[in-house]
Homo-oligomer: 266 residues x 2
């Protein structure tokens, strides 16, 4: 049963739009995702939105009908509203005709199964939500188990991160932890911690990567703290042929992640 | 001789701020860059700003004094203004204390010297300025000669692209061309065109890359047009272990670019 909403001041719409802000996401334990492809990826990975928001001017599509059916089957709500209101919800000029509200996932380290994958990505104090979403997308591509966010990172459930992840926010495990929690957890079972680093580092190509391999990159401006690097099993570096002394964090994670993949799954 | 400006409505400030918009950049043939490090990179690569804008609350720094001297030596202008006005110019909450106005460079294919580098990056219809800046930054890191922008790409001289390039906008050559101009130019001299592709592609690792190698990625949503891929000498693909069928464009360029580098300069 669809509910029609045509006013931007409707409380349901206001509550959904508020999920664009981190404090409201945190309070509600909910986040927003948009687009038929992304919502279909979510459903196929067992994540059905609690609220589905449809544009009155959407294109009909069998996957959209399936999505609506899935939402109703679990007792979720379906709202239909104007393209203008939908674009205000998603913050995009050309909304994709559909958005969903999802419950946030368990992001504790305890929820991760490190035996489930050969590669895990780790980001420390990553501030850019686009970089974070791109790391999730890359993690999906290299068959990583998930992304572990150390210290004060951008929110993986923010609209920009979800968008940049291209659906990988639903396929990758996500954990958030302080370094002081992460390191004992890591050392409590087999696992190799590898830093993309400039200090005391060996060439990234041909380094002795071992599964499960945790590939860590640091903050966009400051890189990894020195004691974090020291705690790693392996520090590797990529050639830097020009003036710059570092790569974009998501790029570094990808170049290194693909190298680890080639070594572990030749 | 510094000129003090304290009003946002000052015509000089308005003209500089207008450079945040593409149409004004195009009309003026000028662009904005910010931050001491970036402006120093520019100077060391022979690019001195025509106008230097300093914040009254900047930290003193010997490189800043050198920069100011360089601007005055070439008859440029030095403006001093409030942090508030500077942040309105750069669109950043925490401006870095200094910004510069530069003349745009020659971006014709004729200005490129393909014998000057083993690797060149090529982007087709790349729409995201952050991706474009990140490709410039990666190009610098792998020792590429520059970035060639095919068809309707984001503006490499936009504030966001310049920022993401981390100074590489001043170290990498940049050319803009339609495909119909680029292909004859490419075929007019030795050069291997390699596409990151999903069609009829071989694994990217161990492919027979040859210098000068032109590494091409396509539009973020649509990828490369089929006839563009067909025109390439080599189509290569990265493993995709998850649900997604593509990487972020700047990530694909980097993973492939580092592989080409390892082959050409082992």
């Amino acid at each position: 049963m669809r509910r029609q909403i045509t006013g931007f001041s409707n409380p349901a719409i206001k509550a959904i739009r508020a999920l664009r802000e981190k404090k409201h996401r945190k309070a509600a334990g909910r986040f927003l995702a948009e687009g038929l492809r992304l919502l279909t990826d979510a459903r196929e990975n067992g994540h059905v939105p609690e609220i589905l928001v449809l544009s009155t001017e959407r294109d009909p599509h069998p996957l959209l009908a399936e999505l609506e059916g899935a939402v109703e089957a679990v007792g979720g709500e379906v709202l239909e509203t104007t393209p203008d209101i939908l674009s205000k919800i998603t913050g995009k000029d050309n909304p994709q005709g559909v958005a969903g509200v999802f419950a946030e996932f368990d992001t504790t380290l305890a929820a991760l199964d490190r035996t489930g994958a050969d590669i895990w990505l780790v980001a420390q104090a990553l501030r850019d939500p686009g970089n974070l979403g791109t790391m999730l997308r890359t993690g999906d591509a290299i068959g990583a188990g998930g992304l572990i966010l150390i210290d004060d990172c951008a929110d993986p459930f923010g609209v920009e991160a979800v968008r940049a992840s291209m659906g990988a926010v639903f396929t990758q495990s996500i954990a958030r932890a302080e370094w002081s929690e992460f390191l004992p957890w890591l050392r409590g079972a087999p696992g190799q911690l590898v830093a993309a680093s400039l200090r005391d580092a060996r060439p990234y190509r041909g380094a002795p990567y071992a599964a499960p391999c945790f590939v860590m990159v640091g903050n966009e401006s400051r890189g990894l703290p020195e004691d974090y690097e020291t705690a790693c099993d392996l520090r590797v570096t990529m050639p830097m042929k020009g003036r710059a002394d570092s790569l974009n964090a998501a790029v570094a994670a990808a170049v290194l992640g693909y190298e680890v993949l080639a070594k572990l799954q030749p």
